[in-house]
Every structure is written in C-alpha cells, then in structure tokens.
C-alpha cells in the first residue's frame, strides 16, 4: 500500500474507533471503583446512595435583612414551585402541615407514649405521679396560652400529645433560639428532581434562583440578602473552578506546545502528525473498555490524557531522528534505526501500566489496563503509519541542529568528566535520601478540593438556621423490611440517647421522633390497658386539684377503644409530613434508616455505644474517604514499585548487563524518588493524585533511559536522541506541568509531580548516556 493509502486508512481507523467509542461507551462516577474490600465498598456505596437519595436532594434558602424577608420568601417559593428542577417547596408550617401533625398523632397518642412502656407507663400512672400531673395541668390552665391546649385536655390529661410534639422538636436547630442570630429571616426549603451533582441542571437552577430573588428584592427598600445551602452549590462551584482552571491551562499548554513545534520543526503539521499516534492509542483503549460492557470511570478517561503525554514521545523521536538524518534517508529508515529503542520503551511502559492492572482497586486496575492497551497501539501507529505522514523531503531546522549539536557536546563533556556525572547522581540520591523520610502524605479528602470559604460560611449560616445536623456524620442501620428498620431504629435511638447523656453527642435527628415500630406502639396501648382501675385513679388524683368528676371520660374511652390504628409509614407518606421519611431509604431488597447527628464530640463513643447492633454503622464520610484514599495511595505506590522492578528485569534481559540496565532505569527511578525527596524537603504534601502521577514519571523516565543507553554506542545519533528527549520533555511539562498552576489541589498535585519528575528524569538522561558510553582510552 502506498503512503496515501496508509494515511487514509489510518484516519479512517481513528474515525471508526472514535465513533464506536461514542456509540458504546458508558460512564460511571461511582467511587466504589476505588474501594478495595467488599465490606468497605458496601459501606461507602451505601453512604453514596444516601448522598443521591432525597435526603441530600434538597436546598435551603435563607432570606434576611428586614421584615420584608418573609414576603419575598413566599413570592420566591411560589416562583420556584414552577421550576422544572424543583420537586417540592416548603416555606414553613402551614395549616395543612399543622393539621397533619394533629391528625397523625393526637388519636395515636396512646401508642407513642414511651420507648419502655412496660416500666415507664406504670410509673406515670402511679397515684403520686397522677397527682403531680393534675397540679401541673391546673397551673398550665392558669397561663395565658391555656386556650392552646384546654380543648384537648379532657381527652389527654396526661399530656401525651405534648410529649410527642416535644420529641419531634428535637429536629429543631439549636441556633434559631440563639441571641446572636438575627430574627428577621425566612427560610425556604426545596427538593431537587436531579442529582445534586448534575452540575449542568444545578447551575441552571442556581442561576434562576439568584435572578428571581434579585427581581423580587429590587422592589423593596431594604437590602435583603439571600443565603443558600445545598450540595449542589459546592458541586457547581467545584465544576466551575476546575473548568476555568482547565480552560486557562489548556490555552497555555496548546499555545506553548504549538510555539515549541513551530520553533523546533517550523511546522504545525508536525504537531498534528505527532498527536495522531497517542490519539489512536487512546481511542483503541477506549474501544476495548467499551467492548467489555462495563461502564468506564470518568477518572480512567482523565488518565487517558496522561497516556497521550507518554505516547507522544514516540512520534517526536521519529520526527527528530528523521529530520536530523542524512539526506535521501526515508522516515522508514529512521524508524529502523530507532526501532529497538522504541520497542523496548513501549514494552517497559506497557509493563509499568500492566502492573497497575492487577491492583485490587477496580478503578486502578481499569486505569492500568487502559494504559497497557493504549501504549502498544500508539507505538504501532508510530512505527507503521506515521512514516506515511512524513513522506515528503525534509531537512533539519536550525533549532534542531543547534539542539542536537549542543546536547552532543554536553554528553561529550560529561563523558570526559565522569566524576562530575557521578557527583550529580550522588546529589540526586542525597536529595532523595534526605527528603523521602520527611514526605508527608495527605489523605484527608477535604484537602483534595478547594472550597470557596465565602460559600462555606454562607452554607454554614443557613445550616445553623435550618437543621444544624452534621452533614458528613450519621448512623445508618440496614434491615430487611420497613418494620425491622423501625425496630432497629428504636435500638439505635436508645443507644444514642446514652451517648447524648454522657455528653459525647449534642443531639440526634431520628425518625424515631416521628414513628415507632408497630410492636412498640401496641405495647404502649397494652401497658395503659393493663393498669387496673385507671379511670378511678385519674378521677381521684385530678379531683384533688379541683377538676370536675368525670372530666376525663374521653381519655378512658380512648384507651378502651382507640379511634385510630397504630401509625404506619404509609400514614406519614400520605400526610403533609411525608418529607420526614426521607431518612428511611429503600435500597435493593433492603431498607436503610438514617439517624442524623448534632455536635459529635467522640466518634469512638458512638461506635462503642452501637457495638453489638448488627448492620448498624456509624458513618464518618470524611474518615471513610480518608481511609479509602490512604489505601488507594498505598496500593498505587506498591504497584508503581512492582512495575519498576518488572521494568528493571526487562532491561536486564535486554541489555544482558547490570550496569547498562541500571543506567537505563536511572532517569525513571532516581527522577521519581528525587521528585518526592524534593517535596519532602520543601514540605509539599503529596496525595493519591501524586502517586498516580508517578506512573507518568516512570513511563517517560524509562523511555529517556532506554534511548540514552541505546544511543551511547552510536556517536552520530546522540545529539538527535537527546534533542528528541528535550522536545518530548518540554511538551510533557507544558501538557501536564502547567496543571501545577491550578487552584485545585488534585490538578496541582498531578502537575507538580509530573512536571518536576519529568524534568528531573530528563536531566538524568545525558548523565546516563555519558556513563553508558564506552570508555575512550586516554
């Protein structure tokens, strides 16, 4: 086939692969891809399911600044009810909700009296306790608000309904009664139809809320302030920040890489040709992933771009060697000259990625497989197809020649002064040795994302007013059905009450305040019925405080013949209080019941208190994710080490010489260690993203070493090889290294590790070359 045919075939193949990927590929963002053990994965999956549940699909808005705030809140709520992204809106306890409370609970007050009906109810009905209650009721009837409950007192002399309401009031945020809080504010709560992480829809909603508020507030003389709280705000802000960073960084990268290719090759066409091979490798790896039928994780795709950075070395070597070759040489002849180095380089990089493919983290394994599939294809395209794109006559540019000559002289100079080369190696080793022990691994997930402090403070203000429960820490119980979940919830609540009493926890927000298991409800009624001569006891005790005889016949009638059955989940679901059931989440074949926590002073005290309760977990999302990151980072570091050893073994086999294999391995190993050594010395914390970035340093460093050692016996090509490495390194630094400018810690870690690592590996390449050159007799 002629060059023209190869060119068209290559482009057609790339288009086909791309189309196939677009048609077949499914994405996932589940963090379970990055969890090693099944047990932990289940807990995190559960925690994440809850994050996606209606419990998290909500926003709270606070309007403050004057008495008009309530009016504007009502108008804003009305406008938001029409919004397609808004599932529901609440602006306070309206009549229907108050009526809902009464309907649900007043007739069921006898079912919901005590958690321990067998002991507590008999105690409440003792003559002395009844007399005390009668006195208390009389005092309450003397109060100005007596009208609020005098109508129900005849049917509820024990104040059982009020007990229920007091229990429900534990959901109330503590800060609303604080003296420091402003009082003129109004709250709107709304439910989201989509995931709070659907940044496209959420950005639209947030924009609409802001615009509608500005419109409504503009007609009022006082300056009103809108504060918002919701997971969606952070998701949208993070996405916006990353996008802004990536846009800026991409612009810088593309500009600089274009300028570099124009400077070195005097042609942008060369750049387009150079990216064909890594793009082909990327598309092939994606196609393999799509064929497996499993969804591909977003992070894996991101890693694919790393692949482009690694694989772009091969075309650069080809183009540089071809440009600097003698006249009448063809691109294929240039390939033949460097094919051994290319093949070995491709093999070692593939092996390095393959080592990651056996990780017990599914996400890491996927990334490893992705790289292992993509690198050989990129190499194959470079060797088989790219020469067809370079078939025209070419001459080296002055820059290529200057770089080649200059670097060849540098190698010459170093090889004549081996002690200097060795001294430089010793200096690198010393940096690694002194810095590595000081390296600080940062596994706190909070440090991986930059959160706008203003946004955080605003969110905190609203959270304090609405429900000051800790968003990231909760207790979750798993049960087979809803009744079992409620039984489990009662036990959880009893245990946590002990933790609150011990001062280790400020409060809980439990569904237990709203509903109990049917068995417990029936036990309550049975305890009332088991009290002998209850009517006479009440009559006797209350008459002493001046109550009329027979005033509480309705209470006796309710005990013998309750007018409502025990409260069921369906009753609440059909009432205006349905929202409280958000903490009862139906999963696949099981039910999760969540207890929210307020003011956790000791997580271990909670864990201890819950000990022995099966399928009950204290979830500290930060702690879990931190553990996950720690494991992920350790596994990555281990796999990088294993991959390095495999690469070293391959180099030993290839060179049949320990010293040459070691020199080929030197830029990768010492470059990576020295990078982390420098981070240790300069107190730059490293994280899981830094660990993954080491793979890039390893992959590219090995390439540098192999090319350096391979050309050590070919004096004429040393300048061309080193200049190829230099162009390749500068390209990588400007593709990845500029990520170090990002505000996002994850991107910054990738950029710093890759940028510093690749540059250090490059500086080691001439030293490896100089030391690998045969000694010239003096």
């Amino acid at each position: 086939m002629n060059d023209r045919g190869i060119r068209w075939l290559t482009i057609a193949l790339l288009v086909l692969l791309g189309s196939y990927c677009i048609a077949r590929l499914e994405f996932t963002n589940s963090i379970t891809h990055f969890i090693p053990s099944r047990a932990e994965a289940e807990l995190v999956a559960l925690s994440l399911e809850l994050v996606e549940s209606p419990l998290a699909r909500r926003m709270a808005l606070s309007i403050e600044g004057g008495p008009e705030s309530a009016e504007v809140a009502v108008q804003l709520a009305d406008a938001l009810r029409m919004h397609p992204e808004v599932a529901w809106v609440e602006t306070g306890l309206d009549e229907s909700m108050l009526r809902g409370f009464y309907d649900l609970y007043f007739e069921r007050r006898l079912y919901l009296t005590s958690d321990h009906p067998e002991t507590e109810i008999p105690r409440l009905l003792k003559p002395q306790a009844l007399e005390a209650r009668a006195e208390q009721l009389r005092r309450r009837l003397a109060q100005p608000d007596a009208m609020l409950f005098s109508r129900t007192a005849h049917a509820d002399p024990m104040g059982l309904f009020e007990r229920i309401l007091n229990r429900i009031q534990t959901f109330q945020p503590t800060a609303t009664s604080s003296r420091t809080e402003p009082t003129d504010f109004a709250i709107i709560q709304l439910g989201l139809r989509s995931s709070p992480f659907d940044s496209l829809r959420q950005a639209q909603l947030l924009g609409d809320i802001e615009a509608e508020f500005q419109k409504l507030a503009a007609v009022h003389p006082t300056e009103l302030r809108l504060d918002q709280n919701g997971v969606n705000r952070f998701a949208v802000a993070a996405e916006r920040s990353i996008r802004d960073d990536v846009n800026l960084i991409s612009a810088i990268s593309i500009s600089v890489v274009c300028a570099l290719f124009l400077l070195v090759f005097r042609s942008l066409r060369q750049l387009l040709v150079a990216v064909l091979a890594p793009l082909g490798g990327f598309a092939f790896a994606m196609a393999v992933a799509a064929t497996s039928g499993e969804p591909v994780h977003g992070i894996t795709l991101g890693f694919g771009f790393v692949l482009i950075g690694v694989a772009i070395d091969y075309p650069i070597h080809l183009m540089n060697h071809y440009g600097l070759s003698v006249t009448d040489s063809t691109p294929r002849e240039a390939i033949i000259r460097i094919r051994k180095s290319l093949l070995l380089s491709g093999l070692t990089t593939t092996l390095a990625f393959s080592s990651l493919a056996v990780s017990n983290f599914p996400g890491l394994a996927e990334m490893g497989s992705f790289g292992a599939a993509g690198v050989p294809v990129a190499l194959g395209l470079t060797m088989l197809c790219l020469p067809a794109f370079l078939s025209g006559p070419t001459t080296a540019t002055p820059v290529q020649r200057a770089l080649s000559t200059g670097l060849a002289r540098l190698v010459e100079w170093l090889s004549e002064r081996r002690k200097i080369a060795i001294a430089i190696l010793m200096a690198y080793t010393a940096i690694a040795a002194t810095g590595l022990p000081r390296l600080h691994w940062e596994d706190d997930p909070a440090t991986l994302m930059t959160v706008d402090p203003v946004l955080l403070a605003e969110s905190e203000r609203v959270r304090r007013r609405v429900a000051d429960f800790d968003g990231g820490r909760f207790v979750v119980g798993i049960a087979s059905d809803s009744e079992a979940a409620l039984i489990l919830n009662t036990r959880i609540h009893q245990r946590l009450r002990g933790v609150v009493a011990a001062g280790e926890l400020d409060g809980v927000g439990s569904l237990h305040a709203f509903i109990w298991p049917e068995s417990l409800q029936r036990a309550n009624l049975a305890a009332f019925r088991a009290t002998p001569q209850l009517g006479a006891r009440i009559e006797q005790a209350f008459s002493r405080s001046g109550f009329r005889p027979g005033a509480f016949k309705a209470f006796e009638a309710a005990i013998s013949n309750p007018s409502a059955p025990p409260l069921r989940i369906e009753d609440i679901a059909a009432s205006p209080l349905a929202r409280v059931l958000d903490s009862l989440v139906e999963l696949e074949n099981r039910w999760a019941i969540v207890t929210l926590l307020r003011g956790v002073h000791s997580g271990s005290a909670i864990t201890t208190a819950l000990g022995g309760l099966e399928d009950v977990h204290y979830v500290d999302q930060k702690e879990i994710i931190s553990e996950v990151y720690k494991g992920y980072r350790r596994s990555t570091t281990l796999m990088v080490t294993v991959g390095s050893l495999v690469v070293l073994f391959v180099l030993l086999v290839r060179y049949q010489s320990f010293s040459r294999a070691l020199l080929a391995f030197l830029p990768a190993a010492l470059g990576a260690m020295c990078t982390f050594g420098l981070f240790g010395l300069f107190s730059v914390a490293v994280n899981v993203a830094s660990a993954v970035s080491l793979l890039v340093v390893l992959g590219m460093g090995v390439d540098y070493g192999i090319f350096a050692v391979d050309c050590s016996t070919r004096a004429g090509s040393q300048g061309a090889t080193l200049s190829s490495l230099l162009v390749s390194c500068v390209t990588s630094v400007f593709v990845f290294g500029v990520l170090a400018l990002s505000e996002q810690p994850v991107l910054r870690a990738i950029g710093l590790t890759t940028g510093v690592g690749v540059m250090l590996a490059l500086t080691l390449a001439p030293i490896a070359l100089a030391l690998a050159r045969p000694r010239v007799p003096k």
Partner: protein, 273 residues
C-alpha cells in the same frame, strides 16, 4: 346616647382608609417567616388550629359593617396612648375545673406590637409577644412559637394589642363589631368573622369608662370564660432602653427579671379625661 351598629353597609372614611393601609403595611412587616419544616416552634398552635380547622372552612365574612364616630375617637385615643402599663386581675372559668382560676399581675404594651404580661400570683410567669412571636415562661419551663405567618393564630393571640394600638381597620378585618356607649361607660363586642376562629371564640368584649379600658372578657364556644380586669392604667410611659429590652425581651431571662422595675411616667403626657 346608646348607639349600636352592626353589619351595615357604609363607606369607611377616607382618613380611616389611609390609616388602615398604614397599619396593614405594619402588620405585614411584623410577620416573620421563621425556619421552615425543621423549625417546629409553631407546634404549640396545633392544638387550637386543629380544633378550628375541624370546625369548618376558613371563609370570612366581608368587613362591611360601619363604625360609630365614638368608636373611631376611642380608637384614635388608644392609638395615641403610647406605652401602656396596667395591673390586671384575671378570673378564668374552665369547664374542666370545679372552681375558677384567678391570676394577678402587670401588663405592658408598647406600640405597635410589643406586649408583655407578667403574672405575680399564683406563681411567677411571663408572656412576651412581639413581631409575630410569642414566648412563655413559667415554673414548668419555657415555650416559644411563631404565629406571625398564621392569620388564625394571630387573631387569637394579639387581640388585646390590636385594641391597645387603636387599630380599628385591623379589628374590623377580623371581627364584626358592636359598640355601645352611654356617654360614660362603653362596651365593644367582637365576634370573629373567620368561621375557623368562631369555632373557638364566641365573643370578646372590651369595656371601659371614658378613655380607659377596664375589662376584657373572652367567651369560648365551650363556655370557658376569662375576664381580665385592668386597674392603675398608665399611658405615655417612658421606658429606658434597658427597661424596654428587659420587659419585652423574647429571650429567656433569669427569674429576677420576671418583674421589671417600675418605669417613670412621661410628665408631659396628658392625663386621662
């Protein structure tokens, strides 16, 4: 002269309409949305609201009754009364009890919407109402709730305030008025327009002599009756900022602040006729 006006079609004087508009704005501004579902302070209202809602719809009779010039003058006088302090004695007859409950104490009102009621016998307790929020404190503990966003609750809780600030349009909005006067003593009868409120309250009667309010009687539909008798009524009081805050604070003060120190009276204030 005895004059009774009920349910008559009559135009409200323009001046009165203007005042009504002002007062409506004030009422609207005093509303407080309060935290939404998670703030359950309003749960205290459930008892009474549920009863009212069960009694029927919330349709209201339109405010078409006319008012006498004497009532307008009386209300104008109340409106200019400034801060008010009065000693009260309440007798409450409740159907559940064989005897009556009697309480005594001091009541403060500062226009437009601050009311504090300190009970000194039996026991010490206090109620402060301000900006649609009511806070109670007695030996059994403290209770607080928002009622400002709820028209029905508002009409139950701040009736006395509406009269003391001379808010005639506000009264007419909620009640059918009947006013009788013999030149010396007068009687203002209020019957709820809202059917929901009428399910609880049958009638509220204010009576007095000259410009002075003497009694407030509330008769509920279940025959419970409370009668507040006022004495030592002082108007145009001048409160220091410190006293004002102590008297009308919605927050939970310590026991010693239940009875505030006696404030001075404005020497320039006109004496009652």
């Amino acid at each position: 002269m005895e004059n009774e006006i009920e349910e008559q079609n009559c135009h409200i004087p323009a001046a009165l309409r203007a005042r009504s508009a002002v007062i409506r704005v004030q009422r609207s501004r005093s509303r407080r949305g309060g935290p939404a579902f998670t703030s359950l302070e309003a749960l205290g209202l459930i008892f009474v609201l549920a009863c009212m809602l069960a009694a029927g719809g919330q349709a209201e009779e339109p405010a078409t009754d006319a008012v006498s010039s004497e009532l307008v003058a009386l209300m104008d006088h109340f409106a200019s009364g400034g801060t008010v302090r009065a000693i009260f004695k309440e007798t409450r007859r409740i159907s559940l009890l064989a005897d009556t409950i009697e309480t005594e104490g001091v009541l403060y009102f500062a226009p437009p919407d601050h009311l504090a009621r300190y009970t000194t016998r039996p026991g010490n307790s206090r109620v402060v109402v301000h900006g649609g929020r009511a806070a109670f404190r007695d030996e059994t503990g403290t209770r607080a709730f928002d009622f400002g966003s709820n028209d029905i609750a508002q009409s139950l809780i701040d009736n006395l305030m509406v009269v003391l600030r001379g808010d005639l349009p506000g009264l007419r909005e909620r009640y059918m008025l009947a006013f009788r006067s013999d030149g010396q003593s007068w009687l203002l009868s209020l019957k709820p327009r809202s059917k929901a409120v009428a399910a609880i309250i049958e009638e509220i009667r204010f009576s007095g002599a000259g410009w002075t309010l003497e009694t407030m009687q509330t008769r509920e539909t279940n025959d419970d009756i409370s009668l507040l008798v006022f004495s030592g009524v002082e108007t145009q009081l001048v409160l220091s900022q410190q006293d004002f805050e102590r008297i009308f604070s919605l927050h939970d003060n310590d026991a010693t602040s239940i009875l505030p120190s006696t404030p001075s009276r404005n020497p320039r204030a006109p004496a009652n006729p």
